[in-house]
Amino acid sequence: MNGFESFHPAVLFIYYILVVCFSMVSRHPVVILASLAGGFLFFGALNGLRKTLKELLFSFCLFVPMAVTNPIFVHNGETILFFMNDNPVTLEAMIYGGAASLMIVCVLLWCRCYSAILTTDKFLYLFGKVIPKLGLILSMAFRFIPLFKHQIRKINQSQKTMGLYATDSVPDRIRGGIRVFDSLVSWSMENSIDTADAMKARGYGLHGRTNFSLFRFKRRDGILLGIMGGFTVLILSCFAVGGFDFFYYPYVAQLQLNPEDIARYLIIFVFYLIPGIIEARGKLTGKYLRSKI
């Protein structure tokens, strides 16, 4: 495995923090587009084409209502399209709504990639020593929803074999659902206590205890960290100079296309595309080597 996940957890974590921060701070359309492109490339390299298309559809369903909401509540902007209940609906508000909701979609996408790459064991490795209690709680919280889903399926299936859901009547189904939920809640409480107890029994978080871990900081991690650091400095300086400033009200700002601006856009694009390229390269070389066998 030579994908992005094979890098040291600290490198991955820093990269995610940077990506999400840059995406959330800037409203510049190029930054948002770069984040979107990078996110989808990475997601596609991780999960394959079909899942990516599904994700694209899901993102679109998320995007539309959020984009439409803004012009209903914000009436700033010069280009008035029509009036709704005596309030102007403007083009600028629509564009801003689109950009903002695209930003949210990007951050959600990156978070999905994050949970696939930075698994619980890596998170515990990073924070188990520094903040043992919070680290454990956080890792359990991240795991909570998938675990919940998994357990619901299990309970549902076992209930089905016991004759639940045999009838079509609504009260019966509701009663069955409540029973499943009831057992799920009590199970999840028990499970969390079990986990905590088990960790305690193994001496988790005790002073002076060492752990074995598979993660070692290799040279390639250092190289990637160096590249990331360089890019971060460049991007932060762009932010400081105001290269990623953009405004939408009362009129949408003109996209700057001077050579230096294009250089800035290239920098942010490359920064966002790093994980996607590494992951895709890993997958492709893997395929190539397998084809030779």
Binding site: H75, N76, E78, I80, L81, F82, F83, M84, N85, D86, N87, P88, F247, Y249, P250, Y251, A253
Partner: protein
């Protein structure tokens, strides 16, 4: 199948209710407001909209608003003009009507969304609250005094002179002592 048809019907009904509850107007339709001519016996008010404080705080103003279009060089968005007062008109009604008549952009927060039970003027002529520093926004005076009331709860009388003024310092720079004194008291307490 039957369930689906019912569901679709419910959705269509909801959309229909929503659409019938909203009023759609084209831009021309909206600005086509009627203003009565001033006759001898009609009651009148005088209104003006000004933003000269922005000129003194030019560096605080949002860069995209630094334009003659948004902040006129003399600070006058609407010079003093006299209009007919309809019975029961509040300060807000007059501003709303005048802005429509003169095609000046204006955004407000409706009474239903406001904690103080009055409409709140968020921005006039693309100049919004907080556009010129953290303490900026629109205020109004009637006959040179600050009423200390919401604009849609203040009823106008004949020959009133109403001024909408943009402040960059919570009203202190446009002569509203009420806020200033209040702030001072808070400071003394702490």
């Amino acid at each position: 199948m039957k369930k689906n048809i019912i569901m679709i019907g419910v959705v269509i009904l909801l959309v229909a209710i929503l659409v019938s509850g909203t009023k759609f107007q084209s831009v021309d339709e909206y600005y086509l407001t009627h203003m009565e001519d001033i006759k001898e016996d009609s009651e009148t008010v005088t209104i003006s909209i000004r933003c000269d404080t922005v000129l003194d705080n030019w560096d605080k103003l949002d860069p995209q608003l630094r334009d003659e279009k948004y902040v006129p060089s003399d600070g006058v968005i609407l010079p003093e003009t006299t209009y007919v007062l309809r019975p029961g008109d509040t300060a807000f009604d007059i501003l709303n009507r005048v802005c429509r008549y003169n095609k000046i952009h204006m955004e407000y927060q409706g009474i239903e969304n406001n904690a103080y039970g009055s409409a709140y003027i968020k921005g006039i002529n693309y100049l919004y609250e907080f556009s010129c520093g953290k303490l900026s926004g629109w205020m109004f005076t009637v006959n040179g005094k600050y009423p200390g009331k919401g604009c849609s709860t203040y009823e106008m009388k004949n020959h009133d002179k109403i001024e909408w003024i943009y402040t960059c310092d919570l009203g202190r720079d446009v002569g509203n002592e009420y806020n200033g004194a209040d702030m001072q008291k808070e400071k003394d307490k702490s």
